[in-house]
Symmetry: D2
Subunit: 142 residues, 4 copies
Amino acid sequence: MTATTRVRVRYAETDQMGVVYYANYLVWFELGRVEFLRSLGFDYSRMETEDGCILPVVEARCRYRAPARYDDSICIEAFPLLLRGSVLKFGYRILRETDAETTLLAEGETVHVVCDRQLERCPLPEPVARLIRAAIPAAESS
Amino acid sequence: MTATTRVRVRYAETDQMGVVYYANYLVWFELGRVEFLRSLGFDYSRMETEDGCILPVVEARCRYRAPARYDDSICIEAFPLLLRGSVLKFGYRILRETDAETTLLAEGETVHVVCDRQLERCPLPEPVARLIRAAIPAAESS
Amino acid sequence: MTATTRVRVRYAETDQMGVVYYANYLVWFELGRVEFLRSLGFDYSRMETEDGCILPVVEARCRYRAPARYDDSICIEAFPLLLRGSVLKFGYRILRETDAETTLLAEGETVHVVCDRQLERCPLPEPVARLIRAAIPAAESS
Amino acid sequence: MTATTRVRVRYAETDQMGVVYYANYLVWFELGRVEFLRSLGFDYSRMETEDGCILPVVEARCRYRAPARYDDSICIEAFPLLLRGSVLKFGYRILRETDAETTLLAEGETVHVVCDRQLERCPLPEPVARLIRAAIPAAESS
């Protein structure tokens, strides 16, 4: 299962090469995974404040295929790849959409360790965990 | 009394016009006022965590004179303009320094209301207040 | 005439005070004025690349009324205040929308000088200028 | 050979978790690799404008070990790992320095493809290439 988020490239996100600065793709990844959780019925901001459950990133990776440019219509796809104990891994695809075509701009992954407010590892609340497990493609979870 | 901070323009701070994106000057203002407090012997991060004293911005203003460019050597001047009750106002000058000349790139002000952890107005801790008052140019404080 | 843009607060836009960092409101202003131009039928990215017409900011100002927080639903209102020769001024209102109420979070203005590719002052292309003039509230343009 | 750059964590770089937002480490990586080039006698901004030689990132990776916090004194280590044709790989270590100890906060790599102004692959100018090759640790380049 994949969540899809749409954003337009902001002027602030470009750099003097005329393309989106490479660190900003990690911001888009974050928008994507929050929307993924929302699509399961979970509100990350509430998970953080009410359940005291946070998802710090322990690893992030991005492969850049083609540059995004100012005002491009960007589609962020986010999907879970793995949930094992406290370790949660997401995958992402960043696409540019025009009337004529869809172009893959970047792909990546982030790895998270589920933590409580004291930044100690803890399991993901079971209702979220169950839905995320169900959303992981079979080939990945085997 | 003015505190001076030096930074180099980061690639991430430029936009596709080839100059520093306008919102980033407010980040530089912040670096300047923190250095100003440090020059008085106060550590803003400690004020926030230990004294529970925060300085949210209620107004910010910037006039842009000339663009800053990637890798420019930037000098941030920050100085207090006013302290009246809980209201604290800083002024800033952003300069580019080369071997040959110094160019004024921007000027601005920020107005802050001193608050406690509950975001209620409170007075600035007296030791800081006294030093800030002493640092305000006479013409301004009158 | 006012253009309205909706965004959700990104995690990257918050700071350790738990609210949106103050410089990010200027990014939202930019989103608003681009949407305003789009609502008139003008594409700022095309104005920049095809007409060689850019709108560098010469002054920006923001008054912060209440903090925006992570995941808040933000409404950005942008409207022209003045067009005189090459000088163009926009006003902005940043609002938080919940089911229950709408809260004004910030207000501000930016002043721009219309420039060509060589950063020389030039008039705004007449079709845009006419529509912007028509969109300025009467009280302001008098 | 490793270049070392020192920065202080900016308030703008923190997020509501009270730590540096994860995308900002990629900004630090960029500061580090520019300083590395400068330490060899090359000015990246001049390489870009005069030689028309740019280094777009095709892959970036970061492993986060411990969080950086506001006002921390950060040391960025950057070093080349590989240069083969147009492909250039850098490694990074992000450290926090206090009087008492040095803590590894993050490690990562970026891969770049040397391009000309038309974003076509091209070789790195030979003087830079020679110095970079000499700076690559033997174990890596074998």
